[in-house]
């Protein structure tokens, strides 16, 4: 598996902050491998919808259903891997 480059990780963190309007957060405050939902960053299903749309707009990445979303939205790194996979497949 190709490891995502730092700038992609950074871009995804920025997308999360901008899309979810986490005004007091900076990319450094988001752990690359930390959970995004529940106990982690505390995101919920309304946030998930924002991220689905944000990823599509920013990277052309499609999250087709909740099952894929569950796997992809585990952490910033899993999102980055998915973005890379989708770009490779395109």
């Amino acid at each position: 598996m190709v490891e995502p480059k730092d700038h992609l990780i950074e871009k995804i963190k920025e997308l999360i902050i901008q899309r979810l309007k986490l005004a007091d957060m900076t990319p450094e405050m988001i752990e690359t491998d930390g959970p995004l939902f529940g106990e982690g960053l505390g995101l919920d299903s309304i946030d998930a919808l924002e991220l689905v749309l944000g990823l599509e707009k920013e990277f052309g990445t499609i999250i087709p259903d909740a099952e894929v979303g569950k796997k992809v939205f585990q952490s910033v790194r899993t999102i980055a891997h998915y973005v890379l996979e989708q770009q490779k497949a395109a």
Binding site: K21, A23, S45, L49, A66, G69
Partner: protein
């Protein structure tokens, strides 16, 4: 929190989705408003907010009622904290059973009457849930037509849209088995999320219209005054008149919540700031969906969603 110019709406959320973890918030529990609120509650209800907040998760037949009382108390605490911090609301807007705290905050009823109404209607709903097992589901990521189609495709389960929360956020209400089937169907039709909410009653569905008379009865001795701050009625998107309030309360559990309509109207009216008067950030996120540029945050989490 801070003050600035512009018109402010205080938004009173409906029932919490999970028990509030107050042990993780010592600043809140040490607050004078918090202590004063709990001392006013003492003796009026058996419910203990602090104990509830630290209890281990377990099967709890009264969970919905406890969550509802918690929602009421926390909204009242955050309301007084927001006022003490200098925030002045121009209008109130409420979601679902957020109406009880909105009425008390607007002094249309007293704090104690608001608690009485919350607990009494909550008990009626519990009884109804035991007699006719119902449920609710949040469906995120499908447009209205798809959600309506799910209701039609599962005809026979009395499924209805109970909350219009955003162009791709809806809540369904109906028979328990129908709700489970609706979740499976929504997921198979590519919803981003479809999950059950902690209700055992088909809230905001016509199945509860039969409680109207009973609710009017329990409100008989409550003296309703004119709200000191206008409260928007989400059916008419106009302020609730004093004489409409009891009728609204008796009907609203049997009718849908039109949240999108309210937010759109308030934006047209020039509201520039939405403050969620509650412990979570659900309404803040729904407002973000309708308008990304407007300032919106939760008093329970002041840093959230600033525009």
């Amino acid at each position: 929190m801070r003050r600035s110019s512009g018109k402010t709406a205080f938004c009173f959320p409906g029932q919490l989705q999970e028990r509030p973890r107050l042990d993780e918030n010592p600043l809140l529990t040490a607050d004078l408003q918090f202590k004063e609120c709990l001392s006013r509650v003492s003796g009026r209800t058996k419910f203990d907010l602090l104990r509830f907040s630290v209890e281990k998760e377990r099967e709890d037949p009264d969970l919905s009622l406890r969550l509802q009382i918690s929602t009421y108390l926390l909204s009242m605490i955050y309301f007084h904290r927001a006022r003490a911090a200098g925030w002045t609301p121009d209008i109130f807007v409420e979601h679902s059973m957020g109406i009880y705290a909105a009425l008390a905050a607007a002094e249309a009823v007293t704090f104690e009457e608001g608690l009485f109404i919350t607990e009494s209607i909550g008990k009626l709903l519990e009884r109804e849930g035991r007699l006719h097992r119902g449920g609710m589901a949040s469906i995120i990521g499908l447009p209205l037509e798809e959600v309506e189609k799910i209701c039609r495709d599962l005809e026979g389960y009395q499924l209805v849209i109970a909350n219009y929360n955003g162009s791709m956020q809806y809540v369904l209400s109906g028979e328990e088995e129908g709700i489970k089937n609706a979740i499976s169907l929504a997921l198979s039709r590519k919803a981003v999320s479809a999950r059950e909410l902690p209700f055992k009653t088909a809230l905001h569905s016509p199945a509860l219209s039969s409680l109207r008379e009973e609710i009017m009865d329990l409100l008989r001795d409550v003296e309703v005054r004119s709200p000191k701050v206008p409260i928007i009625n989400h059916w008419t998107v106009r302020p609730l008149g004093k004489e409409e309030i009891k009728d609204f309360l008796s009907q609203e559990i049997g009718r849908p919540v039109y949240w999108i309509r309210c937010v759109e109207r308030l934006l047209q009216e020039g509201i520039t700031r939405f403050v969620e008067i509650g412990h979570e950030t659900t309404l803040t996120k729904l407002i973000r969906w309708v308008n990304r540029d407007v300032e919106a945050f939760s008093a329970g989490n002041g840093s959230y969603g600033k525009g």
